[in-house]
Symmetry: C2
Subunit: 281 residues, 2 copies
């Protein structure tokens, strides 16, 4: 990465805004763009906002596309004519397989676009919640296109290291499988649980008093951005379905054992869960 | 509660130990007892340990039985002959209905025993993790026996207020239903999810790198004490099963919608989950 080269952030939300703060801390001068005028106003508190998306992208050495999974490809196609030769384009979206398969069909993209997914975020969205440290110590998955030049992928890695991320290069399919299990399924399960709680119960006084820290931890992710999650579920449905099916089988066996009231089954069940959980720091 | 009266804590683990610390901060001098010699040794770091359970309970104005749901009633029956007239006995166990039904059959218990459940804890057990503030601002459910004198229930309330708790009196059945939904089902769901992750995946490098803060929050409760949770599941199985059945229906509908890939369904689904979650502070 060249010192002082222009970085454009298209989509200054929680991630884009945090990236801007991290880059500024690093002495860089990123330029931003948001589609909506109201979001541009918010973004202006963090970084200079360009006069148009074209103006933001022109002359940029690095362009970060911080948008939901469903809008990456249209945005890429639109900006292609504006890119400098050698400009690196990154995204931050959570599902990579379908995006990579579509991007492979536009050969000129491989000279610019390296698909990325930083494993970070929080349940609040928008640039008002941005934090310079959001990427620090966090895995950033990079799922290259088959025709990405090796040097371009290395530049993508260097970019994420600059803001504290830990880049990991892997195939898009392995990525989508891993996040379906570790991120997408939990989000669905926590959301489904909130629906169960919502059957008039969240209004009850007893329910509210019975909510402890365990409940709050377990359900925190259900407050994520609904549009982002709709895109994720649509784009990674097959992987998520496979894990959901396996999960339901475990619930079926739990249901049978609840009926039969077998102490030794439950001791072993909870013991194993505890051991598995304690492997995760 | 009389100033300076003796408080006995039978079972100095996380909760019992935290109670001892809170009482000491309050100027009280609790006395403890643990069944196992090794646990008595740990307890001695926090409070004086009696020579026997009988010695701990004798002359005590308040006895707190800090044991798992399954061992409360045998312990109560054993200590009954040792109790002072007017001694108040409390427990801290998570399921109340079955315990209350059994306790109602021993008429002399109602002069002493007021069933309680403080909504607090953490995933680490044992007195080494005790904290004086563990009860501060936390709901303490009190599910009285039908023949508990009103003054005895008031003394139980005062006791919990003294350590910062917020007592709420309600029927055992309403309590068990509320905690089945807010605490017991989430624990089962998070544990089942760890089992799914355990199918060789927790060892994989990609899995480990794909674990983010959302995963950790969602699964934290799965590290709870297995013996405590076995007792809970056995004693509240009927309520938990009802909610598990309703939850599986939601998963069934999710599965169908994953297959059909309906964007509007998922937008509405996540939107509603977010609104419900944000009602919980």
């Amino acid at each position: 990465l060249k010192k002082g080269e222009k970085t454009a952030i298209i989509g200054v939300g929680l991630l884009g805004g945090s990236l801007a703060l991290a880059l500024k801390k690093n002495g860089d001068h990123p330029v931003g763009w948001n589609h909506r005028a109201s979001s541009r106003k918010k973004a202006e508190k963090i970084l200079p906002v360009a006069a148009s998306p074209e103006a933001a992208v022109r002359n940029a050495g690095v362009v970060v596309l911080s948008a939901h999974s469903g809008s990456i490809l249209p945005a890429l196609e639109r900006m292609l004519p504006w890119l400098e030769p050698g400009a690196l384009v990154l995204d931050v979206s959570s599902v990579k397989g379908r995006l990579v398969r579509k991007a492979e069909k536009i050969p000129s993209l491989a000279r610019h676009y390296v698909p990325c997914h930083p494993m970070t975020g929080k349940e609040k969205s928008g640039p008002d919640h941005a934090e310079a440290g959001l990427f620090r110590g966090k895995t950033v998955f990079i799922t290259p296109l088959s025709r990405n030049p090796a040097a371009l992928v290395r530049r993508a890695s260097s970019f994420w290291k600059k803001v504290g991320g830990l880049p990991v290069v892997l195939p898009a399919s392995a990525h989508d499988r891993a996040v379906a299990l570790t991120s997408h399924l939990p989000h669905l399960l926590a959301s489904a649980f909130m629906h169960l709680c919502g059957k008039d119960r969240t209004a009850s006084k007893v329910f509210r008093k019975a909510v402890g820290p365990g409940f709050k931890d377990f359900t925190r992710i259900a407050a994520g951005n609904p549009d982002m999650w709709r895109d994720i579920v649509e784009m990674n449905a097959a992987e998520i379905r496979g894990f959901l099916r396996a999960y339901r089988k475990i619930l079926d066996s739990m249901g049978r054992n609840l009926q039969q009231g077998r102490g030794p089954y439950w001791s072993a069940f909870f013991q194993k869960a505890k051991i598995l959980r304690e492997k995760i720091r």
